[in-house]
C-alpha cells in the first residue's frame, strides 16, 4: 500500500500540473469572451486597461493555435546562392556564364549544394576554380571552403535581415528559422495584406547610386542595340503587321517599342516594359554597350498629356559610385509639395565624405538612384551635398514609401530570395477548422468513452477517467512547451483517444480471462496488469517510433500530428497502466467493484 500512496501522490501532482498549465488558456478564452461581450468600445477598452496585466499574462501562457486555425502564412524561401557565387566571381567570361547556366538548370530540381555542383562541373571541364574566384594561388578546396562559408554566412544574414523587416512591419510572434543550406522558413499569423508582406520579404533592397551617361551616348547605345535586332533572324517577318497588343510584344523589334523624344529622353510604352527589360538583360545585348555601362528602365511610369504611361530608359555607368551599405537611417515622408511620398536617407561618415566628393565632382550631371535594378529617380546634381543626405522619390504611395523605409533600414539581402512554398489560410477558413476540430474532439471522446462503458461496465468508467487525464496531459504539455495546436494536431489527439484505451482493452480482456479461470478479483487484476504489460509496451514503443520519425521528416502541419501522437502515446503508458491500476486497488479495497465490474 505504501507503493500506492506514492503513485497516488504522483497522479494528483500530474493532474494538478496539467490543470495549472491549461488554466491560462481557459482564462484567456474567458477574458476575450468578456471583452467581445461589451456593447460599446469604450467599455471594452476600459476593461482591457483595467485587466491589462492579467490579459497579457493569460495570452502569453495560453495554448497557441497553429497557422491553419487562426489564419496566416507559412513561407519557405530560398537564398539564390548562384547569384552570390556570381557576385564573388571576377573576370567572368562567356565560358563562365555557360558553366553557371548549365549548373543552374541542373540544380532546379534538387536540393544539392550549389557550391559542390559548381566545383564538380569545373573539375569536369578541367578549369581551376581560382581562375574566377579569390586568389590565383588558392587551391580548389580552399575556394570551395571559402564559398561554402560565404553561402552559410549569407543564409544567416538573410534570416536576420528578414527578421528585421518583419519586426518593423509589425507581425505578432513571427517564426523565422533556417532549414538546410539555403532555405528559410517563415511563419506569420494574422497577416491581412499578403501581397505587401511578400514584396517586403522578397525585395533584395540593393541600393546603388549610378552616374547617368550623356544623352548622346544613350542614343548611340540604343541605335547599336536596334541595329543588332535588325540583323537578328529571330524576329518573324510578319510581326510588323501584327496589331499592337499588350500580351504579345515579344515578336516585335525593339525599335518599334522604343521611342526617342526631342529632348533626348528615351522611353518605352507600358505594355512593352517586360519585353524591353528582358531584351536589355540579354547577354549579347549587354555586350554591344560601351564599356562599363548598362541600360536600365525606370521603376515607375511617367504620364503623357494624353494619359498614356511610358517608362524612361537610362544609360548609366555600371560601377556604382556608392551603394546602400552606407545608409544608416531612412524615413518615409512627403516631399516638398507635400503630395509625393518619398524616402529621405542619411549616411555614415564614410558615405557622407564619398557622397560629398561625388556630388561635388558631378555638378550639372544626373545621378540615378537605382533600387534592385530599376531607376527610381535621376536628379541633376545642383551643388555639392556635404551632409550625406539623399532622397528617393518616384514612389507611388505612402505604403510603398514605408516599406522602402523598412527595407533600407534593415539592409540589403546578400542575394535575391525566391519563395519556394507558400501556404496561406484565411481567418474565415481557420474558424471553420476550429469548429471542425472541436466537433471531432467532442464526438471522438464521447464515442470512445461510451463504448468503453457499454463494453466494460465500471471498468470502462475507470478507463475513461484515465482518458480524461491523458487528454489533459497532452494539451498541457503543448501549452507548457509553447507548441501550437493545428488541425492535424487535433487529429492526433482524436486518434490518441482511440489508442490510449487500447492498453486498457488489453488489460481488461486478460482480466476477464483470468476471472473465467476462477481466480479471485484481486489476483485476476494483478495477473491482468502483469501479463498484458509486454504487449502494451511493444505496441507503444512501435507507435512512438513511427511518430518520432514522422516528426523528424515532416514539415509544419504534419509535425503537429506527430508531436501530439507522441505525447499522447507516451502519456497513455502512464494513465492507462499506472492510473487505472491505482483506481482499481482503491475501488476493490472499498468494495465498490466485484467480479461483474469488468462486463
Amino acid at each position: 500500500m505504501k507503493n500506492n500512496q506514492f503513485k497516488l501522490i504522483l497522479i494528483v501532482v500530474v493532474a494538478l500540473v496539467s490543470v495549472w498549465s491549461i488554466w491560462p488558456t481557459y482564462r484567456d478564452h474567458e477574458l476575450s469572451t468578456r471583452l467581445s461581450s461589451f456593447r460599446s468600445s469604450e467599455d471594452s477598452l476600459k476593461f482591457a486597461i483595467d485587466h491589462r496585466t492579467e490579459i497579457e499574462q493569460a495570452r502569453d501562457k495560453s495554448l497557441k493555435l497553429g497557422l491553419d486555425l487562426r489564419g496566416g502564412m507559412h513561407l519557405v524561401m530560398e537564398v539564390d546562392l548562384f547569384d552570390l557565387i556570381e557576385q564573388k566571381a571576377w573576370n567572368k567570361d562567356a565560358r563562365f556564364q555557360q558553366i553557371m547556366a548549365s549548373v543552374r538548370s541542373s540544380a532546379t530540381n534538387s536540393g544539392a549544394n550549389p557550391v559542390e555542383l559548381l566545383a564538380t562541373e569545373f573539375k569536369k571541364q578541367n578549369i581551376p576554380l581560382s581562375r574566377y574566384f579569390y586568389d590565383i594561388r588558392n587551391s580548389d578546396q580552399e575556394i570551395i571552403d571559402k564559398l561554402n562559408k560565404e553561402a552559410q554566412d549569407s543564409l544567416v544574414r538573410a534570416k536576420e535581415i528578414i527578421r528585421n523587416r518583419i519586426d518593423q512591419y509589425g507581425v505578432a510572434e513571427p517564426l523565422i528559422q533556417t532549414q538546410g543550406a539555403r532555405r528559410i522558413i517563415i511563419e506569420l499569423s494574422g497577416v491581412t495584406d499578403e501581397t505587401r508582406v511578400r514584396k517586403l520579404l522578397k525585395g533584395t533592397a540593393k541600393l546603388e547610386f549610378k552616374l547617368v551617361r550623356e544623352p548622346e551616348a544613350l542614343l548611340r547605345a540604343i541605335e547599336s542595340v536596334n541595329s543588332m535586332q535588325a540583323q537578328a533572324p529571330s524576329a518573324p517577318a510578319d510581326s510588323a503587321k501584327a496589331p499592337v497588343t499588350a500580351s504579345r510584344p515579344s515578336g516585335r523589334k525593339l525599335s518599334e517599342v522604343i521611342g526617342v523624344m526631342k529632348n533626348g529622353l528615351v522611353f518605352t510604352p507600358e505594355y512593352a516594359r517586360d519585353y524591353v527589360a528582358s531584351v536589355l538583360n540579354r547577354e549579347d545585348v549587354r555586350a554591344r554597350l560601351p564599356q562599363d555601362t548598362e541600360l536600365l528602365l525606370a521603376a515607375k511610369p511617367e504620364l503623357t498629356e494624353k494619359g498614356e504611361k511610358y517608362y524612361p530608359i537610362y544609360l548609366v555607368k555600371k560601377t556604382p559610385e556608392l551603394t546602400g551599405g552606407v545608409i544608416t537611417e531612412a524615413k518615409a515622408t512627403f516631399g516638398s509639395q507635400n503630395v509625393q511620398p518619398e524616402v529621405s536617407m542619411s549616411m555614415n561618415d564614410e558615405g557622407t565624405s564619398k557622397w560629398a566628393r561625388i556630388t561635388g565632382a558631378n555638378i550639372g550631371k544626373q545621378i540615378a538612384i537605382v533600387l534592385d535594378g530599376a531607376v527610381y529617380s535621376a536628379p541633376v546634381v545642383q551643388s555639392r551635398i556635404p551632409n550625406g543626405n539623399s532622397v528617393i522619390n518616384g514612389i507611388s504611395g505612402l505604403d510603398e514609401a514605408k516599406d522602402l523605409e523598412i527595407i533600407l533600414k534593415a539592409g540589403a539581402l546578400p542575394a535575391p530570395v525566391r519563395i519556394l512554398e507558400e501556404r496561406t489560410v484565411g481567418p474565415s477558413l481557420g474558424s471553420d477548422y476550429i469548429r471542425a476540430g472541436l466537433l471531432s474532439m467532442i464526438w471522438g471522446f464521447a464515442a470512445v468513452a461510451i463504448f468503453m462503458i457499454i463494453y466494460y461496465n465500471k471498468a470502462g468508467l475507470v478507463a475513461d477517467s484515465a482518458l480524461v487525464l491523458n487528454i489533459l496531459v497532452v494539451i498541457s504539455v503543448l501549452a507548457g512547451f509553447k507548441a501550437s495546436l493545428s488541425l492535424p494536431g487535433i487529429a492526433g489527439i482524436v486518434l490518441t483517444m482511440g489508442m490510449a484505451v487500447d492498453a486498457n482493452v488489453l488489460i481488461y480482456e486478460r482480466i476477464r480471462e483470468e476471472l473465467a479461470e476462477g481466480k479471485s478479483l484481486k489476483s485476476a487484476v494483478e495477473a491482468g496488469y502483469n501479463r498484458a504489460f509486454s504487449s502494451i509496451l511493444d505496441s507503444h514503443v512501435t507507435t512512438l517510433a513511427a511518430a518520432f520519425l514522422l516528426s523528424q521528416f515532416g514539415v509544419g502541419p504534419i509535425q503537429g500530428f506527430a508531436v501530439t501522437l507522441m505525447i499522447g502515446t507516451g502519456a497513455s503508458l502512464f494513465t492507462a497502466i499506472v492510473v487505472t491500476r491505482v483506481i482499481f486497488d482503491l475501488l476493490i479495497g472499498s468494495g465498490f467493484m466485484n467480479e461483474k465490474s469488468f462486463g
Binding site: 512554398e421 476540430g437 463504448f451 487529429a491 486518434l495 489508442m499 513511427a546 511518430a547 514522422l550
Partner: protein
C-alpha cells in the same frame, strides 16, 4: 458485454485461402500502381491549390469556364465544403498575381455572389522533390526500426513475418489509393504528406495487433513439442481474437469521427487510417502468424524463445 464468446476458428487450416486473398489484393493494387499510378497531391508533385468560397451556392462548371477564360490553366472541382471550389494549377512563383487574376475574373463574371480566396497552397517543384525523398526515407527508416525492435523482442521469424505484414498493409492501402484515387469528389484520395503520416501510423499500429497475437503464442508455446504447434497457434489466435478486434474497434471509432467531422483537409488521412486498420487487423491474424507457422514447419527446429 462481450462480442466474442469462446470462438474456435481453425485459422491455420484455412491459411492458404487467406494467402490467396492477400496476394490478389496486392497484385491488383500493384497492377493499378504501375498502370494508373498514384494521384499525387501538390506536396509531392508541386503546384498551386486555391480554395475559393462563395457567398451563395455556385455551379462548378461556370466557375471553371470563368477561370479558364481568365487564362489560368488548371482544374476546378467541388471542394468538400459548402459553397467552395478547389482550383488546382501549375506552380506560380507569384501567387499574389494568381490571386488577383482569379478575384478580378470572378468578381466581373459572377456578380452578386462574392468570392473569397480562403486558402492558397503553393509548392515549388524543388521542394516537392525534397518532400517526396524524405517521405521515402522516413518510411524506410520506420520499417527498419520496427524490424530491429521486433527482432530484439521476438525471434527473427516472428520479426520478419511482422514486417512482411506491415509491407502487406501499407502496400494494400497504397494500391487502394491508386485504384480509388480521383473517383470521389468529396475525398480525392491524393497521396500527400498527410497520407505518409497515415502510412507511418499504420506501420506502427499494424505491429501492435500482431504483437498481441505473438505474445500469446510465445506464452503458450514454451516447452511444447513441434507437433502441438498447430493447435497452440490456433488456440492463441482464438483467445486473442476479441482483444485484437476491440483494440482496432476503438481506433476505428476515432478515425470515423475524424472522417465525418474534421473536414476535407483530414478526410484522405482518415480514409487511409481506416483502410490501414482494417487490413492491419486482418493481416495480424491471417498473414503474420500463419507465415511464422509455415516457416516453423519448414525449418523443423523448435522455436527459440527470447524475451519475457
Amino acid at each position: 458485454m462481450r462480442l466474442f464468446q469462446k470462438t474456435n476458428f481453425n485459422f491455420i487450416k484455412h491459411r492458404r485461402i487467406a494467402y490467396v486473398v492477400s496476394l490478389l489484393l496486392l497484385v491488383t493494387g500493384m497492377i493499378s500502381l504501375f498502370t494508373k499510378g498514384l494521384n499525387y497531391g501538390i506536396d509531392f508533385k508541386g503546384g498551386s491549390e486555391v480554395v475559393i468560397r462563395f457567398q451563395k451556392s455556385v455551379d462548378v462548371g461556370s466557375v471553371r469556364s470563368v477561370i479558364d477564360q481568365a487564362g489560368v490553366r488548371g482544374s476546378v472541382k467541388q471542394y468538400g465544403m459548402e459553397r467552395a471550389v478547389l482550383l488546382r494549377t501549375d506552380y506560380h512563383g507569384e501567387s499574389a498575381d494568381l490571386k488577383g487574376l482569379i478575384t478580378r475574373a470572378l468578381a466581373a463574371r459572377i456578380p452578386g455572389n462574392a468570392a473569397e480566396i480562403v486558402s492558397i497552397q503553393a509548392v515549388g517543384p524543388s521542394i516537392a522533390a525534397d518532400m517526396k525523398w524524405s517521405a521515402i526515407k522516413a518510411l524506410g527508416a520506420a520499417l527498419i526500426g520496427i524490424l530491429l525492435y521486433v527482432s530484439v523482442r521476438f525471434e527473427i521469424k516472428f520479426a520478419t513475418a511482422g514486417v512482411i505484414a506491415i509491407f502487406h498493409d501499407v502496400l494494400t492501402v497504397l494500391g487502394l489509393f491508386s485504384i480509388l484515387g480521383g473517383l470521389f469528389d468529396f475525398m480525392p484520395l491524393e497521396v500527400d504528406q498527410s497520407i505518409i503520416a497515415a502510412f507511418l501510423t499504420i506501420a506502427g499500429y499494424s505491429i501492435t495487433d500482431t504483437v498481441v497475437v505473438y505474445d500469446r503464442i510465445r506464452e503458450r508455446i514454451r516447452g511444447q513439442k513441434p507437433s502441438e504447434y498447430e493447435r497452440i497457434f490456433n488456440e492463441s489466435m482464438n483467445q486473442t481474437l476479441s482483444r485484437t478486434i476491440i483494440t482496432s474497434g476503438t481506433i476505428m471509432i476515432s478515425v470515423l469521427v475524424l472522417f465525418i467531422f474534421a473536414g476535407p483537409a483530414i478526410r484522405g488521412f482518415a480514409f487511409a487510417m481506416f483502410a490501414g486498420i482494417v487490413v492491419g487487423t486482418y493481416s495480424s491474424i491471417f498473414v503474420a502468424a500463419p507465415i511464422v507457422f509455415d516457416w516453423q514447419q519448414r525449418s523443423k527446429a523448435a522455436i527459440k524463445l527470447r524475451g519475457a
